[in-house]
Symmetry: C2
Subunit: 626 residues, 2 copies
């Protein structure tokens, strides 16, 4: 029995395996995500990888010959589910195979919006000039357009003007004009291309960027793609990145370029899949927290981070794609939705837009969980918002066996009375690690079963083989090595529990302060909406037991997924929605937690599970007594 | 007596001279223009040149020590009027010394315009942000500006937004904002810079570009500069350049770059002289014929030149200086005044604006003489315009001893009854050649004295030593070699006379056709206005005898100089003037001469001196009979 070493690139991750394993199996064990929509059955052809040393692999199978082109085979492409490893190899996972079936939380809510986009296409056939009608080209165009739209303030983007005369004559004066907001001609195409009208909704998160390619004619989402924020190499959290960007002007440029690179990566992948001509993407609507929007524009973010926490600009802004370097039509308009204040950005505006809490006459609590968590409390009368530095624990970072909510992640956990564990993984594969929703379950269940106390301390006196000391730290085993994809135990450590407490305390304290500002108690909340990276499978009872959320009846708690991108899409396809976004940004009050005198006390009280004051959690109190 | 060779750079022109001449004397003889406002008296210090071989020159004079800095002396600077040549040398004429006292025809008319520029500066001190007032920077700025201007449609140029936050804090929130047209923030400067508000009026002619640097606060012209249009290397006339530009896309880019180079040369020279910070130039108003404006923008000009003669755009357009590459503030606005039609461009609009013929209830004739000559006839009711391919003869080109109206040019000529010549040169120096006004005098005087007949044929039977055959062509001597700066005769050849006939016939035919369209005869004209390169010293009687102008009383003929640049300046300093320009461009009808059935006949009749139909020139008839 020989141990073989497999190196995965571009991660640079090495792992050992046995002769005869498929590349896909080894990748899963190593926690490397390879796209595999059929789960390795050889019927989707998505798990393409490149291996240069073909002699270290089994021969090409029939399945591979079906899914790979001659050119691909010659270049060293294989299907990861088919190729079996016979010797030491290096596996390169090309970008197109990198998308795992990550759960993008778009199904969380469904909002009906009547498509009324800001860009429109108008197909026109102009009368051809003659000696008796030698009107200049632009005036000829404008006159014809005046039959369809208001032309008083209409301008033309300079690069489009440059090509106008030739384009008219090359097309026999039969053209399609793209107009943004009745104000700017951003494209002139030959013939009738009016059925090709696309836009991109974009959510730039601190750790992840998500893009929706949308058909603006009918509002349909054609494709979805997400990538890690490439700025991650300069730090997980916003403050580290700002510190880097502040150091010298060049660094700010680097940060801007990284964001643009990420957006273009989203676009590249969408193009690779859909083959939709990206020059037919005429508007990009962007949301993100205030700092991410500053980075996209190359604006100095330090004043957002330093007291008195002032962004450069609040309102909705428009730029040309060529100014920012986005790989769509260079004259397309990039629209940044307005921000609220401090770190609470256009993502929070989009959250409100999508959930419509600002239209209800009863107050709701909205929590958008991420590396920074935005909290909004209010109704049609008054709304308050804040940003909590919750950290990335709920996204699986800073947790020993934490991972994102991708294939192989344990997403649900329950502990039986005899301290055994039941769990479910995403994709129903062998487990690789723990995602955010699992961590909520685990800490809540451990507390219910008195494995931890209200301070989060693991009770070493509990008698269970799952409780053990490893490298001097006490931990609780969730999955035994024999069960997991890696062959190693998946555990939760004392430090992991503490990370979750810090995160949930920050979120709860923020919620609590805003509820006080709005003068509303838990019982008065109409809804508690949880948005963001946690996923659709969070157990609301456990979230309450943990003390992440105020104690409200479970039917009031709703996990709404990525409402930021939903709001961005709404503003992309509807002028009314973007006007609403403007109103929301002005209406929601911003509360700066770091200067709130009660924050520290609220935070410390919320560090306990569920809270120092159990009377705030009557239903949890009942469960515990039961 | 030793002959010495002097090489002038950057012209690369070599000339021979005698030991002991000053550099200025030699330069004048060679037709090289060196700035010399005192005429060589040693009291202006403007004639700085650089000579590296100092031993070949006389020693530094007291005058030179007064006007040259230590550094300049070390670098080889001398004053051309002081340094005497002792041996072979190379003289480099630096840009700052290149301005001869070329006659820029700005004094032709004087128009009073109340300064009301489109750009304005607003000095504001913003309240500094605090925790209780953490309004974002841009909104803080806009709120303060709202005390002064309407802010509904106000935008900010992206590069200015990028620097906003740092600039506010570096200046303690004490800044000066430059706003274009109440619509766009184009500059933010630290402290109070409201007294530095400059603009450039620019006339891009086929052969010459002229720029006025204007103080927008009071409308004062601070400096004037003109350069040759660098496109001249691709042909003197517009059609040759269009043919080149049509050949391939790269050529169009070349033509655009050359125009931009020329404009930047104007700016460089203005800066060298005035030291006014060009980043404080916030608007550039450009006029020029339609093709020059196409070239400036890089628009395809071929459709203007080919039937049915359609420009790309007619209306006033605005661009950012950085889009075009002009070396002023990158966010400045470059405003191109509207055109009329065909080749009749914004220069003609500016001509009308400056001369106000569109406001009079009686019709005038306006002729703007250049390589293309624009003709406009009309009044407040109806106006007609056309462009005549008059060629550059009146600018001294295609004429054997022709030259521009610069120092050394003969500008006035009369012939005595005994066929002797009296003449006057610009700068009262020895003559070097003949400028346009001299050519009008010469042909008219030759005709009066029957040296030529009405067909322009030189009468070889006249008995005068000035009439001679040279290289098989008959010519008439204007100045003998002993009188001239070059030592060579200055003559007018049979071919020169023919060139002048072609030019004047084109202009007269155009005028005649427009007068017919407007249904006005010569006697009904209120004024005949002559604009352009001819100069202020044209003899109106001779212009009539030549048949360049219709036969009107001399007090109706006015030489108005460069009205195009005057109109551009008016639009630069006054919003009202630019609105008038828009109205003029729509109001003036364009007449395409090349398709006018009567043009050929009109042209042939006008080839005669003054005209085939002498009844059209009653006063000339009288002079001839007298």
């Amino acid at each position: 029995m020989v141990d073989i070493t497999v190196l995965f690139e571009p991660e640079g991750k090495k792992t050992k395996t046995l002769i005869g394993s498929t590349i896909l199996q080894v990748a899963k064990q190593a926690g490397i995500s390879i796209r595999s929509e059929c789960g390795g059955k050889g019927v989707c052809g998505k798990c393409k990888v490149v291996v240069k040393r073909s002699e270290a692999l089994s021969e090409l199978t029939e399945v591979e010959r079906r899914y790979l082109s001659e050119a691909e085979i010659e270049y060293g492409y294989r299907l990861a589910c088919q190729a079996r490893i016979l010797g030491n190899i290096t596996v390169l996972i090309p970008p197109e195979s990198r998308l795992s079936f990550r759960k993008i939380q778009f199904a969380g809510i469904e909002v009906l919006v009547k498509p009324n986009p800001t860009v429109r296409k108008i197909h026109v056939i102009l009368p051809q000039p003659t000696l008796s009608d030698a009107k200049p080209d632009y005036e000829r165009l404008i006159d014809t357009l005046s039959n369809t739209i208001r032309i008083d303030d209409l301008n033309i983007s300079y690069p489009i003007l440059k090509t106008l005369s030739d384009k008219l004559r090359n097309s026999d004066f039969n053209i399609t004009v793209t107009v943004w907001n009745n104000r700017q001609i951003i494209s002139i195409e030959q013939g009738d291309t009016s059925n090709e009208l696309f836009g991109l909704a974009l959510d730039i998160g601190t750790s992840k960027m998500v893009g929706y390619l949308v058909n603006l004619s009918n509002g349909e989402t054609l494709d979805i793609e997400s990538v890690e924020n490439p700025q991650l190499i300069y730090g997980e959290d916003v403050m580290t990145r700002i510190t880097f960007a502040m150091a010298e002007p060049k660094n700010l440029e680097i940060m801007q370029k990284l964001i643009v690179t990420g957006v273009n990566e989203v676009l590249d992948r969408i193009y690779a899949r859909t083959k939709i001509d990206l020059s037919k993407v005429y508007e990009v609507v962007v949301v993100g927290n205030t700092v991410m929007l500053h980075f996209l524009l190359g604006l100095q973010p330090k004043y957002v981070a330093l007291s008195p926490f002032v962004p450069t600009v609040k309102r909705r802004m428009h730029f040309e794609a060529r100014e920012l370097g986005l790989n769509v039509n260079p004259s397309s308009i990039v629209t940044l939705l307005p921000v609220i204040g401090g770190f609470v950005g256009a993502d929070a505006v989009a959250d409100v837009l999508a959930t419509r809490i600002h239209e209800s006459d009863k107050p709701s609590l909205l929590v958008d969980i991420g590396t920074n968590t935005e909290v909004i409390v209010g109704d049609s009368k008054r709304l308050f918002s804040c940003s909590c530095a919750s950290g990335p624990a709920f996204e699986g970072m800073h947790i020993k066996h934490g991972m994102k909510a991708v294939a192989g992640a344990i997403e649900k956990v329950s502990i039986t009375p005899d301290l055994n564990i039941e769990y479910k993984t995403i994709g129903d594969t062998k487990p690789v690690g723990l995602c955010g929703s699992a961590m909520i379950d685990i800490v809540a269940e451990m507390f219910k079963h008195k494995i931890i106390d209200s301070q989060g301390r693991i009770n070493s006196k509990q008698s269970s083989p799952r409780l053990r000391v490893n490298n001097g730290e006490i931990e609780f085993v969730i999955a035994w090595g024999r069960e997991t994809a890696t062959g190693k135990e998946i555990t939760v450590t004392q430090r992991d529990v503490h990370e979750i407490q810090l995160a949930k305390a920050a979120i709860y304290a923020g919620s609590s302060i805003l509820m006080k500002r709005r003068n509303v108690c838990a019982a008065e909340l109409k809804k508690v909406l949880i948005a963001g990276a946690l996923g659709n499978y969070v157990n609301p009872e456990n979230a309450k037991i943990l003390g992440l959320l105020p104690d409200v009846p479970e039917d009031k708690i709703k996990f709404v997924g990525n409402t930021a991108i939903v709001g961005a899409k709404m503003a992309l396809i509807s002028k009314d929605a973007r006007r609403k976004a403007d109103i929301i940004s002005r209406k929601v009050h911003y509360v700066e937690l770091s200067t709130d005198p009660s924050f520290k006390e609220e935070f410390l009280q919320a560090m306990l599970i569920p809270h120092r004051d159990l009377n705030k959690f009557p239903s949890v109190k009942k469960i515990l007594q039961y």
